[in-house]
């Protein structure tokens, strides 16, 4: 193992890989990425792959919009097919409250330059002809939202970052971190490495990695279950999101429908096992929304962890003023994949150039948490 490096990244998921990629793109070569198992072995490897810009907070909209700009360039820039499709997100409103919130959100999103509209159920039906819109009051639709393969996206970033000089250490578990002068000594089960900067991109295990230098950060792992159907012929179907019943689902590029739900009763845990309640519950929701598909077959259900923060927005930047070189890229609350490009770029800029330049993430640091001064993201499923 390398005895020393400029940056040590903890976590080989989409976040760690994206940060590694942007660091090498900005010319930093001396980087080591520590992955306790295999690349994507955490939440990324269980991720559904949605890419959405329709958020309720300005910061999430900004990050998501910038991410889409970067996703649009990804394939050419990295020369890597990551199965990206921009087939839109259609978000359904079933109550008057939702319609009111959606109107507000759309106005805010439009202010940020997002191409998004509040549409009627009839318009929604036009976009998704087989959707049951009987109880739908309104919907919002953004055609540039989409879907990609999170595994391939991670592998693409990792491959290019390795070519750029980053060392990826798989099956290497970080056991502890020691402060050593202005540096950190990362102790792993395979040896030690002293680094100037640490990036905590450990997803659901972010809290553990922060504890290694004595911080308790307010992020928690939470199981979310998901399933995929047998592949069906490709039909243009945006991701359909229903906050009211707690459902999202879309057809991926290879034909299978991937869908998940939110279960407010899910306790904090690292569990990624599958439960029958999920398949029963989502079957009802799916066949309600897509009655024609009730005989489509379910191939497989699985689960992954969200790394949930108090406001459902990521926590980015230095862990504290005392440890300005220990960076957090955590707490993405289930939308890390879609925010990875923009936050990867921002963290890399912060390390290489001293501050984030492209996207303003000043409201997303630990400071807001400590001060309790944050706005809640509601558009989470």
């Amino acid at each position: 193992m390398k005895a020393a490096a400029d940056v040590g990244i903890i976590g080989g998921g989409i976040i760690g890989s994206a940060i590694g990629y942007y660091l090498t793109k900005m010319g930093l070569k001396d980087i080591v990425l520590f992955e306790k198992d295999y690349l994507t072995s955490g939440c990324t490897g269980r991720c559904g792959g949605g890419i959405r810009q329709q958020w309720s907070t300005s910061d999430n909209v900004k990050l998501a919009k910038r991410s889409v700009e970067l996703f649009e360039k990804y394939e050419d820039e990295l020369d890597f097919d990551f199965e990206y499709i921009q087939q839109g997100y259609l978000i359904l409103a079933f109550t008057d409250d939702e319609v009111r919130d959606f109107k507000k959100n759309v106005a805010m999103q439009k202010k940020h330059g997002l191409k998004v509209d509040l549409i009627s159920p009839r318009q929604a039906k036009k976009i998704v002809p087989f959707l049951n819109t009987n109880d739908v009051l309104a919907a919002t639709y953004c055609p540039t939202d989409g879907l990609a393969n999170p595994f391939l996206t991670t592998f693409g970033y990792a491959e290019r970052a390795s070519e750029g000089g980053m060392t990826i250490l798989r099956k290497t578990r970080v056991n502890s971190i020691e402060r050593k002068g202005g540096s950190y000594r990362i102790r792993t089960d395979k040896g030690d490495c002293t680094v100037k900067y640490i990036v905590n991109a450990a997803g659901p295990w972010a809290q553990e990695a922060a504890k290694m230098i004595g911080y308790d950060i307010p992020v928690e792992p939470e199981r979310h279950q998901i399933l995929v159907t047998e592949p069906l012929e490709r039909m243009v179907c945006p991701m359909v999101v229903d906050f009211y019943h707690g459902f999202y689902g879309s057809q991926e590029k290879r034909g299978g429908f991937v869908m998940g739900e939110s279960d407010p009763s899910e306790p904090v845990s690292y569990k990624t096992s599958s439960h029958w309640k999920f398949v029963e519950s989502i079957s009802k929701k799916f066949t309600y929304l897509f009655p024609r598909f009730s005989n489509v077959k379910i191939l497989r259900q699985w689960a992954g962890s969200y790394c949930v923060s108090p406001d459902a927005q990521p926590i980015l930047g230095p862990i504290s003023a005392d440890d300005p070189n220990y960076f957090l890229a955590v707490g993405y609350s289930g939308h890390g994949f879609m925010l990875a490009p923009a936050t990867g770029e921002a963290i890399a800029e912060w390390i290489v150039k001293g501050k984030p330049l492209t996207t303003d993430i000043s409201h997303l640091t630990m400071e807001r948490i400590e001060k309790g001064d944050y706005s809640q993201e509601y558009n989470v499923v």
């Binding site: 994507t40 072995s41 798989r170 079957s283 066949t287 077959k297 191939l299 497989r300 259900q301 699985w302």
Partner: protein, 606 residues
């Protein structure tokens, strides 16, 4: 009229052998050969010969005719290719026909040596006139002389040496041998030839016979059936095999019709394959002017044909007063041919010849004491060694000669089994490429921790490359593990040595390999993912099963990896050489088989 001292009819091994003896004794010799090329059956025998090292053993048949030609004294020799003998007339004139010029010519010879070889037998079955049914010898000629492969899927009838050898050569030529049908309960050919075929996965149907060929305009398949000891078809055992070519290797019969025209004595000898001219030990027929040798004098194999030809040549020379010490000249060859016909495989011919010569026959001569040549490998043996898997008393000794360390002993009796002195074996593996039966394998238990190197004599193209992932197959050709090519040693004699490594537990059983999973062979059949795609991904660094799964989506189809998980693990292991058994291979998830949403919405309660 062409005048000559000796006329030899037939330019195969016996004819060429005879010419060596007559020309070297200064006799003007004319050889006529009906084919445009000399060598008879040698010209298509791409396999290595058995016998004694001093008599071309270990040399491929196709090179032997040139060796024989070298020994012929050219100043006394003339050859007429494309000429066949068509008659021996009452005045002793031999009529020959020049097929190229369409001309009949006459030859007057003091002595005639007939070395006309054999013709293929056939067996009756329904539709045996369908295009696509060949004699095995014909197939061998088409393939090895003219470079024409008669078909893609071949059914071989007969597990004698010809059936086994031609099957092997068909595979070398890229055909698929769908099976070998043999009426007897065991192969008539050498065990080592059988072993070679079996480890390439060719099924052998013993106690079976062909009943019918079927197809519209040419062969599309065959019906075979099991038979009992009285050759009666057993009901309910019929089996259909799909094939486009049926190859008959059901035996040879001496081709000596031309001699019958002279009125010499003929006899019927089942052990010699049919009607043969009565001849003595020195190959003289009942007439002092006619000699015979090779298959025309009784079906044997090519090495003894050469020797018989030489004996006929000496005899003819002797009768013309050109041999001063005939007894000595005969003895060398007679002794050698006796040795060749010892052992269970040659004894039938020996018996037939003894009957012909009215030599006393003792049935005790038919039983041979076979040495036990199995050896125990001491546990601590770390040096490589060879495993000699030769358990049949065939006349052969190239292994003994090829060993620089005198670790292998056959002894003066070349039908004795080779004995390995393990302590002298250095593991150099020189003997592997020399063994005509490809029956010696190299074993290196010290190749890498947990892995054994197995060196296999290999004659198929293309050769693998070092590092290639391959499948390890057992003696029946069944894939039992993945393997990796560790070394490729090319040899001038075209028996190349390929060392593959397998996990120790498979070392005793792996004796062949198939080119690894590569090309557009589907591995993950649910999602149409090919071996090439998987190998490329592994090369790209996706050596962790879970990463590979997410990179290619292998095992994420409806079968959830049931069909391919193990194959893919083997491919990773074979390519990287790493032990990946501790790696996660993904978690099977519910539902076990795909179920519709409707199944979960129909009540069921809380």
């Amino acid at each position: 009229m062409i005048r000559t001292d000796v006329l030899i009819i037939g330019g195969g091994p016996a004819g060429l052998g005879a010419a060596i003896e007559t020309t070297n004794r200064g006799l003007k010799t004319l050889l006529v050969e009906e084919n445009p090329i000399y060598g008879g059956q040698l010209i298509k025998q791409t396999h290595k010969f058995f016998g004694s090292h001093s008599h071309f053993a270990g040399t491929r048949g196709i090179y032997i005719q040139d060796e024989l030609l070298k020994e012929i004294k050219k100043e006394h020799f003339s050859m007429l290719p494309g000429h066949s003998a068509v008659g021996i007339y009452d005045d002793g004139v031999i009529g020959i026909y020049d097929s190229k010029k369409n001309r009949f010519k006459k030859v007057s010879a003091k002595k005639v040596i007939v070395a006309t070889g054999a013709s293929e037998k056939t067996i009756p079955f329904k539709n045996n006139d369908l295009p696509g049914i060949y004699g095995a010898g014909g197939v061998q000629t088409l393939m090895n002389v003219y470079g024409v492969l008669p078909g893609k899927k071949i059914l071989m009838i007969g597990a004698g040496n010809i059936g086994l050898i031609v099957s092997y050569q068909l595979i070398q030529a890229g055909a698929d041998v769908v099976g070998i049908v043999e009426a007897l309960p065991k192969a008539g050919g050498y065990d080592v030839h059988l072993a070679k075929i079996r480890r390439m996965g060719v099924p052998v149907f013993f106690k079976h016979t062909i009943v019918e060929a079927f197809g519209q305009d040419s062969v599309e398949g065959a019906l075979i059936v099991q038979i009992d000891n009285k050759w009666k078809h057993l009901n309910g055992t019929q089996m259909q095999l799909e094939c486009d070519t049926i190859c008959l290797a059901v035996g040879l019969t001496p081709s000596s019709e031309i001699l019958m025209q002279t009125g010499i004595k003929m006899t019927f000898s089942p052990s010699l394959g049919g009607y043969v001219p009565v001849h003595n030990e020195f190959m003289q027929t009942s007439s002092p002017d006619y000699f015979v040798g090779g298959d025309a004098a009784g079906i044997g194999e090519a090495t003894s044909a050469i020797i018989e030809g030489r004996l006929a040549g000496i005899s003819a020379s002797d009768s013309l007063g050109k041999e001063k010490n005939a007894e000595k000249a005969y003895k060398e060859h007679v002794d050698y041919i006796e040795k060749l016909r010892d052992g269970n495989t040659g004894i039938k011919v020996k018996k037939g010849k003894y009957e012909l010569w009215n030599k006393p026959w003792d049935t005790s001569m038919e039983t041979f004491e076979k040495k036990d040549n199995t050896i125990k490998i001491p546990k601590g043996r770390t040096k490589a060694y060879v495993s000699i898997e030769c358990y049949e008393d065939i006349p052969c000794n190239p292994c003994e000669i090829s060993c620089h360390f005198k670790a292998i002993t056959v002894g003066p009796n070349i039908t004795d089994l080779p004995m390995l002195a393990l302590e002298k074996c250095t593991g150099c593996m020189s003997c592997l490429a020399q063994c005509p039966g490809l029956a010696i394998f190299g074993i290196n238990k010290n190749l890498a921790p947990g892995r054994t190197g197995i060196t296999i004599p290999y004659e198929l193209l293309p050769l693998p490359e070092k590092g290639d992932p391959v499948w390890g197959a057992d003696r029946d050709g069944k894939i039992i593990c993945s393997a990796r090519v560790e070394a490729v040693r090319k040899n001038k004699n075209k028996t190349h040595l390929i060392t593959i490594s397998v996990e120790n537990e498979y070392a005793e059983n792996v004796r062949h390999f198939y080119p690894g999973a590569s090309g557009d062979v589907l591995i993950c059949r649910c999602l149409d993912i090919t071996a090439d795609e998987i190998n490329d991904a592994i090369d790209r660094g996706y050596t962790d099963f879970e990463e590979l799964k997410r990179y290619l989506r292998v095992t994420t189809g409806p079968c959830q990896g049931r069909g391919c998980r193990q194959l893919i693990m083997n491919m990773i292991r074979a390519k990287t050489g790493e032990d990946v058994s501790s790696h996660s291979t993904g978690t099977p998830r519910p539902p076990e088989s795909a179920l519709p949403f409707s199944a979960f919405t129909k009540g069921g309660g809380k």
